[in-house]
């Protein structure tokens, strides 16, 4: 792969997925795109990049973008964002939305489904308190391939060991050969949609809780600012945005501010808080 070809690829990935590929990540291109070359019967990365330049092979373009974006995830990843949901965000939202009895959650980079299903299991555990409520979990990802995997809810033994308590493995999964499938009752709680965060997502509506974890790290600063401002527009007035541990809003948008006690949790900045017909309830300061 020549320098020019690498530069073309960087521009292509930035435009299609927002992925900011630094020169040090050049090795990733070779390890991740070589299998795509083989799949499409191409002899080299140069051939693949040449085909991308022609812009006539949508399947190849999607495969290249999907191969370069990271889909690392596991159940209850980092645990704290889920404890926070169970112990603070959910009880607060239940109080705040008691009149309309509606709760909307968005997993904005849902990958193979472990994050939305973790939330769905937590909601299932809280089912007695949610009787008569309309609860929606919208899960989006750039990659149609990972969405298809997520919809199936089939995981390897390795995947179900990462973060999932064994009691919940027994309770919510059935064994299918060498794999484990999450219960239909949990799968049906999640509405999967393909979505590129670089494109408008205003049609999704407003959410009480947005999980957008470990995706902004791959974007450059202007892209992060743009996505954060648009996420803020989808966040209910007292809603909560959860970012990954290595991500922040600071220096990127003045519409959102970090919670004083919970790392990774953000809400509307006071000055930018949108109006709401529901009475405001301040975010609790402790779990």
């Amino acid at each position: 792969m020549t320098e020019l070809e690498f530069e073309y690829l960087r521009g292509f990935l930035k435009q299609r997925s927002g992925l900011a590929l630094t020169a040090e990540k050049r090795y990733l291109v070779e390890s991740r795109l070589t299998p795509i070359c083989r799949r499409f019967g191409m002899a080299s990365l140069g051939d693949l990049i040449g085909a991308l330049k022609l812009g006539q092979n949508g399947a190849l373009e999607r495969a290249a973008v999907e191969a370069m974006t990271t889909n690392e995830t596991f159940f209850f990843r980092d645990r704290i964002p889920f404890d926070l949901f169970r112990d603070t965000l959910l009880p607060e939202a239940l109080l705040r939305n008691a009149a309309r009895r509606r709760l909307r959650i968005w997993c904005a980079a849902s990958s193979t489904g472990q994050e939305p299903y973790s939330l769905a299991m937590l909601l299932q555990e809280a089912a007695p308190r949610l009787s008569g409520w309309q609860v929606e979990i919208v899960a989006t990802d750039l990659s149609t391939e990972v969405i298809e995997k997520a919809k199936l809810g089939l995981y390897s033994h390795f995947e179900v060991q990462r973060g999932l308590p064994v009691q919940w493995l027994i309770k919510y999964f059935t064994q299918v050969g060498e794999q484990w499938q999450i219960a239909q009752s949990i799968r049906s709680m999640v509405d999967y949609r393909q979505l590129n965060l670089l494109h408008s997502f205003s049609s999704l509506g407003q959410f009480d809780v947005i999980y957008c974890r470990n995706v902004l790290i791959y974007f450059d600063a202007p892209t992060k600012s743009d996505v954060l401002a648009r996420l803020a527009a989808q966040l209910a007035p007292e809603g909560a945005l959860l970012l990954g541990a290595a991500e922040t809003v600071i220096g990127l948008t003045d519409r959102l501010s970090p919670h004083p006690k919970h790392r990774g949790l953000y809400g509307h900045a006071e000055a930018a808080r949108p109006a709401d017909t529901a009475p405001p309830l301040r975010m609790a300061a402790n779990v």
């Binding site: 390795f158 308590p165 064994v166 009691q167 493995l169 059935t174 064994q175």
Partner: protein, 130 residues
């Protein structure tokens, strides 16, 4: 002044290689590790001093993991250790049986550092890495 308690873990496995690998990982996590090669030796070790955690192989000669776990949970102070049972079997029936016998978590062999760390966190024996 009393020294702070160092979390202890007993690794029970008839394979010296597995014990060595597990010891290295768990010691890196700041725990004090002891070893036993079967259920009988593990019961003796627990009688001498109950560990905070037990990484327990399921299939061992003399006394297997299931028999050990039943005996442990019946013994004085035997309810204390968090037991992570460890096996190559991934049959849901075997897992459910181990949980009924008193296991707290389950680790599929071969395990790695990430899985073992995550499981020890899940049973509350490690501070959050997050």
């Amino acid at each position: 002044m009393k020294a702070p308690h160092q979390t202890t873990c007993l690794v029970v496995d008839d394979s010296a290689v597995i014990r060595k690998v597990a010891r290295r990982i768990i010691e890196d996590l700041g725990m004090n590790v002891s070893e036993a090669e079967d259920g009988n030796a593990a019961l003796e070790a627990c009688a001498a001093g109950m560990p905070d955690a037990i990484l327990l192989d399921w299939n061992m000669p003399n006394m297997d993991g299931y028999a050990f776990l039943q005996a442990l949970r019946r013994s004085e102070g035997g309810e204390v250790p968090k037991v992570l049972f460890c096996t190559t079997e991934n049959d849901i029936g075997a897992i459910a049986r181990a949980l009924r016998a008193g296991a707290d978590e389950y680790i599929m062999k071969p395990f790695d550092r990430d899985i073992l760390t995550a499981k020890l966190e899940q049973v509350g024996l490690l501070a959050d890495a997050a």
